[in-house]
C-alpha cells in the first residue's frame, strides 16, 4: 500500500531520514518507534506529502505522491485519516461540527452526516459532549475526538503521530484500544510513539528508527532501544 524507496530527507544540513526503504501492506498495524529526532514525524509528513523527499520516492499503491496535482493531492489525502499529538482540532467548531466538517469536506450529503456522526461519537464515547468546543475537553477527550474525525470518512489508512504523547496512562490505554478496534475492522494504521507500554500492548509489527535510519523491523515486535 505504501512504499518508501531509498527515501532521504534533509533539512538544510540536517539529515532527518537516510535511505529508508519500507513497505506497508493493507490491514497492517505498524508501530514506528525511536527517540525524539529519530525521524518518526518526518516519515509521517512524507506519507501525507506535506514534505517532499530530498531523494528517493514515496508511493501510494502505484502513484508517486509527490507528482500529484493539487486536486489529486486533495483526493489522495481523503483516503488518509490523521491523528496528531497536539490534536489539531478546529477550535471554533463544536465536537459535532469538527467531525461533520471532515464529512462536508469530502462532499457527503446531510443525511449521511446526521447518520454517521452520532454513530462515531458513540464509538469514541463523546456523545454527551457533542456541543462542547475543543477547549472545554480534556486531553484524552480531544484525542478521541481527533480519532473520530480521522475515521469518520472511512479512510484506507490512519496515521497517528504520537497520539498518546500528551496523555496519562488511563487515557493512553483507551486510545490504543480504540486504534486496535479500528484496525480489527480492516483499516491500516501507522502509529509513531516512544512509549514502551504502548508498543508492548499492541503486539504488532514494529519499525525502529535511529538517527534517520531503520535499524530494526520486527513482525511481532517489542520495544527495544
Amino acid at each position: 500500500m505504501i512504499y518508501f524507496n531509498n527515501v532521504t530527507k534533509k533539512y538544510r544540513d540536517n539529515t532527518s531520514l537516510e535511505d529508508v526503504s519500507i513497505a506497508i501492506t493493507q490491514g497492517e498495524f505498524v508501530a514506528i518507534v525511536g527517540h525524539s529526532g529519530a525521524g518518526k514525524t518526518t516519515l509521517t509528513k512524507l506519507i501525507l506529502a506535506e514534505e517532499s523527499p530530498t531523494g528517493g520516492t514515496v508511493f501510494f499503491e502505484s502513484t508517486d505522491i509527490n507528482k500529484l496535482s493539487n486536486k489529486d493531492l486533495t483526493n489522495f489525502r481523503r483516503k488518509i485519516g490523521v491523528v496528531f499529538q497536539d490534536y489539531r482540532l478546529l477550535s471554533n467548531k463544536t465536537v459535532y461540527e469538527n467531525i461533520a466538517f471532515a464529512m462536508e469536506a469530502i462532499e457527503k450529503n446531510e443525511n449521511e452526516i446526521s447518520e454517521d456522526v452520532p454513530h462515531v461519537l458513540e464509538l469514541v464515547d463523546l456523545t454527551s459532549k457533542s456541543l462542547h468546543f475543543p477547549h472545554q475537553l480534556s486531553g484524552g477527550e480531544k484525542q478521541r475526538l481527533a480519532i473520530a474525525r480521522a475515521i469518520i470518512t472511512q479512510p484506507d489508512l490512519i496515521i497517528a503521530d504520537e497520539p498518546t504523547g500528551n496523555l496519562d496512562p488511563i487515557n493512553t490505554n483507551e486510545v490504543v484500544n480504540l486504534l486496535k478496534k479500528i484496525n480489527d475492522l480492516g483499516t491500516t494504521i501507522i502509529l509513531t510513539t516512544h512509549n514502551r507500554s504502548v508498543v508492548d500492548q499492541i503486539k504488532k509489527r514494529v519499525i525502529t528508527l535511529e538517527n534517520g535510519r531503520v535499524i530494526r523491523d520486527d513482525k511481532d515486535g517489542k520495544y527495544m532501544l
Binding site: 486533495t74 490523521v82 478546529l90 471554533n92 462536508e104
Partner: protein, 307 residues
C-alpha cells in the same frame, strides 16, 4: 450539491465570525475607521466644492456703458452675450437703477449726495453684470468685446469700460487656487483611502495568519481550496456589511453636530447633505466594505492554499 456547498460555506463563515468574538470586533473596528475616512472625505469634498462655488459666485465681470447709451443697443449686446456658451447669467442694471443703488450705498455720505443733487443729468451709466460658468472663462468673454464682429460697430463706442482687467489678477489667482485645491483634495483623499485600505487588508491578513494552523488541518482532512476559502470570504464580507451599518449610523449624530456647528464655516449644512444623499452614501459604504473585506480575505488566504 452546489447549493448545499454554498449553504455550508455561508453557515460556516457566519459561525466563524460570531465565534471569533474579539477578533471579529477588532476587524469591524478597523473597517469602520476605513469607511469613516472614506465618508469623511466625501463630506470634505462636498464642503470644499460648496466653498469654491461660493467664491466663484463672487467673481464676475461688469460692462459699464456711457451715460448717453440708448437702451436698445445695450439690450442688443445683452442678447448677443446670452448666446455665448461660456456665459451663465447676465443682469442688466438700468441708469435709474444704478442711481438708486449709488444713493443707497452712499446714504451716509451727505457730501457726495449733495454733489449728485447739483447735477441735472444722471451721470451714471447702465451696466451689464456677467457671470461665467467657470472663472477661467472671463478672459474669453472680455476678449469677445474686443474682437467680435457681430457687435455693431457703434457698440464699442457706447462701452465706457470693462472691469475685467482690474479684476484679472484676482480672477487668475482664484482660478489657480480653485484648481489647486481640487487637485490637492483629490490627491490627499486618494492617499488616505489607500492607507486605510492597506491597514484593513493587513488586519484581515493577520487574522487569517492566526488561522493558518486550522487551514492546514482543513487541508489534511481533505477539504478542497474553495471549501476552505469560502467561509473566510463570507466572514470578510460580513465584516464589511456590519462596518458599513455601524458607519452609516455613526454619521447621523456626526452630521447633525457638524450641521449645527459648522454650517457657516463649511458653507453647506452637512446634515441636510447627508439626508439628501443618504442612499447613495450607504451604497458607497456598503460597496467599499464588502469589496475591501472580500478581496482582502481572498488575497490573504491565497498564500496558505498554494501548497
Amino acid at each position: 450539491m452546489f447549493t448545499i456547498k454554498l449553504k455550508r460555506i455561508i453557515i460556516s463563515g457566519y459561525r466563524n465570525f460570531t465565534r471569533s468574538g474579539f477578533t471579529s470586533l477588532a476587524s469591524i473596528l478597523i473597517m469602520t475607521i476605513t469607511l469613516f475616512v472614506i465618508t469623511s472625505l466625501i463630506f470634505i469634498q462636498a464642503g470644499l466644492n460648496s466653498s469654491l462655488n461660493d467664491i466663484k459666485e463672487k467673481v464676475d465681470v461688469t460692462v459699464y456703458f456711457v451715460s448717453n447709451a440708448d437702451e436698445a443697443s445695450i439690450k442688443n449686446i445683452e442678447n448677443s452675450l446670452k448666446n455665448l456658451p461660456e456665459v451663465r447669467d447676465i443682469t442688466y442694471t438700468s441708469q435709474d437703477q444704478a442711481l438708486i443703488d449709488f444713493k443707497e450705498r452712499h446714504s451716509n455720505d451727505y457730501l457726495t449726495l449733495q454733489a449728485l443733487d447739483e447735477l441735472d443729468d444722471n451721470p451714471l451709466g447702465a451696466s451689464l453684470n456677467i457671470k461665467a460658468k467657470d472663472p477661467s472663462q472671463y478672459e474669453s468673454i472680455s476678449k469677445y468685446f474686443e474682437s467680435d464682429t457681430t457687435l455693431s460697430k457703434g457698440a464699442m463706442t457706447i462701452i465706457d469700460k470693462i472691469d475685467y482687467h482690474q479684476n484679472k489678477i484676482v480672477i487668475d489667482r482664484l482660478t489657480s487656487i480653485i484648481n489647486g485645491a481640487k487637485k490637492l483634495g483629490f490627491a490627499i483623499s486618494l492617499v488616505l483611502v489607500l492607507i486605510s485600505i492597506f491597514i484593513t487588508f493587513s488586519t484581515i491578513r493577520l487574522i487569517i495568519y492566526m488561522s493558518r494552523e486550522e487551514i492546514n488541518v482543513m487541508k489534511l482532512v481533505g477539504a478542497g481550496g474553495r471549501y476552505i476559502r469560502g467561509p473566510f470570504i463570507v466572514s470578510g464580507v460580513l465584516v464589511g456589511v456590519i462596518s458599513s451599518l455601524v458607519t452609516i449610523i455613526l454619521f447621523i449624530p456626526v452630521s447633525i453636530w457638524l450641521g449645527n456647528q459648522m454650517t457657516d464655516f463649511i458653507g453647506i449644512n452637512l446634515y441636510t447633505y447627508y439626508k439628501a444623499n443618504f442612499f447613495q452614501l450607504f451604497i458607497i459604504m456598503l460597496g467599499s466594505g464588502v469589496i475591501i473585506g472580500g478581496i482582502s480575505s481572498i488575497f490573504a488566504i491565497h498564500r496558505y492554499l498554494k501548497k
